[in-house]
Subunit: 214 residues, 2 copies
């Protein structure tokens, strides 16, 4: 399958962990792609075109030739199936299963308090001084416990995978705000944060923060 006609639809501020996951996957695979910014605040994700292509009208969305797809983990899996030369998920079935588990878990209710209380604006714009709530703290403690169970040096599954980048991103919601993270977890997350494709995301120019935090 050729990599031409690949378009990633993104949100305007380049702070979505879900766009991040697709962006890093495309960069790791060295696939050429165009970017289209869609601002949901301006109803740009609910145009008839975007709905017809993507079914749900969400961002991120990938359009590959005439095929439109939303939901970051579906996009990552599709790219890994279509362009397997540089894998971003483990090949071993049980490691792949664990990778999928962690990707789902990081999007689940278990981590929702962290996502709510430590929005990604606190990573890419300015940290907050608000302490974590009781449920936020409990979620942070669980995240660090899960991280301690799965982290291996240098990567979770031996070869690097997109789950390394996603877990590092989630941990940086805590690290950016001075929340407690065990030193080995912190060191691991910082090493992952320095990966060139991740740095390419971090160093994107971003518009001034004027809209409500997301």
């Amino acid at each position: 399958m050729l990599a031409r006609m690949m378009v990633l639809h993104v949100e305007p501020r380049w702070i979505s962990p879900y766009v991040f996951s697709c962006f890093v996957t495309l960069e790791e695979k060295r696939l050429p792609f165009d970017v289209v910014v869609l601002d949901s605040a301006k109803d740009e994700t609910t145009t008839p075109d975007h709905l017809a292509r993507t079914v749900t009208g969400r961002v991120p969305a990938l359009v590959h030739d005439d095929f439109g797809l939303a939901e970051s983990n579906a996009i990552v899996e599709y790219l890994d199936d279509a362009f397997p030369d540089v894998p971003v998920l483990p090949r071993d079935p049980r490691q792949r299963a664990r990778a999928r588990q962690l990707m789902s878990w990081m999007r689940s209710d278990d981590t929702a308090p962290i996502r709510e209380e430590r929005p990604t604006t606190t990573i890419f714009y300015a940290p907050t001084t608000a302490p974590l709530s009781a449920s936020g703290l409990a979620a942070a403690v669980k995240l660090c416990a899960v991280a301690e169970r799965v982290i291996r040096e240098p990567n979770l599954f031996g070869p690097w995978s997109i789950v390394d980048a996603e877990l590092a991103f989630l941990l940086h919601r805590l690290l950016a705000n001075g929340d407690p993270v065990p030193p080995p977890v912190k060191a691991w997350a910082e090493a992952q944060w320095a990966r060139p494709t991740v740095r390419a995301w971090r160093e994107r120019p971003r518009p001034p923060l004027t809209a409500p935090r997301a």
Copy 2:
């Protein structure tokens, strides 16, 4: 890979859509499995054993020989990889991608108001008379619009897939409570609801509803 030593860890009331997805997958594939009930209200999901096996200590969890896995979509994919004779996900890469998109979307914030305001107790125990909130109604309208875009007779992707069962389950949160659903969507969801493996779930004996609704 042999199907022996397969254990599905479930919640006590048999009302979780995520346990449902794993249960129907196992039944469709005719894989023999044992069931272990874990009650999170009694801290049974956070025992050292369950945490060591599953990393996150969640239910549903599948234990296959010595391998423990949580998160329903990871379990479904693992079973489809390990036991491919009866597929539960489409084989075509783009249909498979769409299936994954829909599975993720049904677990996302877009559908959260439906999950919150129409808990599965209203399907399997007793309906609610509470009207949907504005956000609940908006989510219901979007769900029906998405369903209208993807539903095909008799199944979304031609051959039956687990996404048919999951979408029918989500629509039944509305149908069970008399919320408006377009007649063709309702008819499709009711036909899916009659599938033998789905009926096997619906007809499970359930304990009296005494604990808070989930």
